[in-house]
Symmetry: C2
Subunit: 339 residues, 2 copies
DNA sequence: CTGCTATGGGTTATCGATAACCTAAACTTG
DNA sequence: CAAGTTTAGGTTATCGATAACCCATAGCAG
């Protein structure tokens, strides 16, 4: 529309101050709504800022004030439907308070988490929300320790010293399913999963499931494939392997809903009656989002609320309040039509 | 373990330089691998940095050099399974090149996008990846215009001047479904959707669908509820309303897969045979991720690749290469068992 | 041996905002 | 009405890194 004569130079606070006819400090105080400034002066500065389209440079601001409103969230993966909800919950609390969230993906690799952490710390965030219950590198733990940035951990626990942990009760999740299977009169329960050496929370559920059954004198068949991703396709593959190796299996507890749905898909394809011949249960509650006919029995995790709780804990911490070091969300079994 | 005597002070480049016995500038050059530095000096600095656990302060670095490696990605929502994949694709390209991505959610609100943009620009990002095909505020457009930050737009087009757009061919998506319905001998096709005034891409698909059918002399019944979210529940509600108001309907094109699955869920519940009595089609391809028995016919969008293409365009742009102003990913109809 | 260019490294100023402190006028209050 | 306090605003120094420039010494050709 107009000529492109604007020099690519960005408007600074000094220019705003000059246009408003005040000192730079005064302009700064107006922009931050601090100090004591008279009505007319406030107005003049605001107007000047608007007129010039001033956007503060937070790099400079944060550098000087040694405070920032960046909160870094580090997750295993975002296209995992679990964490999408969690992030939404986090944002719903953080955004209104003026924080801005930076999200990093680690792909469940501890080296990647370490790199990620280094990168985000270099921006001097106000706080961190990390995912616990995953194997964390020695270096990363060290870095967290020495950096002393307010940190909340979600999902699961870990050895690193953090200020608080918010997550579901994984042990209960495992034993709830075990008990449910027993009530249904299951005699040959099984488990399928993957990457348990990295996903310590899943390992915890698995152990709770196994030990709850053992205490009733029932042993299980487990297939754990550490080299496969925790996804739908893996569910299909492992279900096939399981039913071939242990045809007597009449109930399968799956690491998560994605694997559960994959298993179901293979079972249906092969003509197994579910739940009459084989029952299937998962974990997360994500399978219900888009269910049409099959509603996988699963343990629901209130993901959005989890995000909100974590974010609230973090802002409380940043506001100097005391927070609970651990909050566990209760595990809730939701009954579908697969058990 | 050890005493907590470390003063909360962070290690600076000056300290690294002192320990290494060189000037600060030399240390800076070593850290950035620029300038001419001898082997031994390089080694000394690196060692000192490691020993102290030095993490550069990018706020300071970026402030001075007026360059940053932040790329901001602004999306309608992340728990929408579409964008999770897109972000993964983006990260897969950007992370290895040393960029770090900020992710903002707008909830499809243009005011929220504007706020987000202001916040993100205050960090002086190297580039932006925005979502097009949504209503954008006048202020936001203005800001983008005057800020001149390399910007790639994904998903759809918009009036704002950006450097490139990468997205699926929405028009084709609509007409492909229309043609498919015709081949199936459909006589009373319908459409259900929501928030079309905000989701301009969906509106484009809808228009293409309608006009393709009109050109064959077929008119459609459409139910568009602008106040409802574009989700599963909405699909159920709108399907019910549609079948009540227009019981002759024998095919439904849904705004997206989530609504499509919701519609299917209601149709199954009410005993409608799918696809014999009513056919259903959606858009995205996300419904197949967790499919068990029902595979919704849909138009697939290669979401991960879309993210990769957008990120590649952006880095090319940042490297000074010329890029295509528009890249359209071909719409591909995938045949499920609902049509 | 003179003049020229690399090599290796140091000096100084600066990015844009804000902390910390200061000052003058206006306003209380006993 | 003198002395203390508040109000409104300004001055100066600084956050931590890097751009831009400078200066030795070494190497090398003529």
């Amino acid at each position: 529309m107009s000529e492109q004569n604007t020099p690519s130079k960005r408007v600074t606070l000094a220019e705003v101050a000059k246009l408003a006819g005040v000192s730079q400090m005064t302009a700064s105080k107006v922009m931050r709504e601090t100090g004591s400034i008279s009505g007319p002066t406030h107005e003049k500065v605001k107007q000047a800022a608007n007129q010039l389209g001033y956007v503060p440079n937070r790099l400079a601001g944060s550098l000087r004030s040694k405070s920032s409103d960046i909160v870094a969230v580090v997750l295993p993966s975002i296209n995992d439907s679990i964490f999408g909800d969690v992030v939404s919950g986090i944002n719903s609390v953080l955004r209104p308070k003026g924080y801005i969230t930076f999200i990093g993906e680690t792909q469940l690799e501890s080296q990647s988490e370490e790199d990620m952490l280094r990168t985000v710390l270099s921006l001097h965030p106000a706080g961190l929300i990390l995912t616990g219950g995953i194997a964390r590198s020695e270096n990363a733990t060290q870095m967290l320790q020495s950096w002393r940035c307010p940190t909340i951990q979600i999902w699961g626990d870990s050895a690193s010293r953090v200020d608080g942990t918010v997550g579901p009760n994984h042990k209960d999740a495992g034993s709830l399913v075990a008990n449910h299977f027993c009530e249904r009169g299951i005699t040959a329960p099984a488990y399928i999963g993957a990457e348990l050496q990295k996903d310590l929370c899943a390992a915890e559920r698995f152990e709770a499931y196994r030990s709850a059954l053992r205490s009733r004198g029932i042993s299980i068949n487990a297939i754990v494939e550490d080299a496969m991703p925790r996804q739908w396709e893996t569910g299909r593959v492992l279900a096939e392997r399981l039913m071939r190796d242990h045809p007597e299996t009449d109930a399968i507890y799956c690491l998560n809903d994605a694997i559960g749905l994959g298993a179901l898909s293979w079972l249906h394809q092969e003509g197994f009656d579910v739940p009459e011949r084989v029952a299937v249960a998962g974990f997360n509650g994500t399978s219900w989002i888009n269910a049409v006919r099959t509603r996988l029995t699963t343990v629901n995790v209130p993901r959005y609320e989890l995000g909100q709780m974590a974010a609230t804990s973090l802002t409380d911490l940043l506001d100097g309040k005391r927070i609970a070091s651990t909050s566990q969300l209760p595990a809730e079994l939701i009954y579908g039509n697969t058990t």
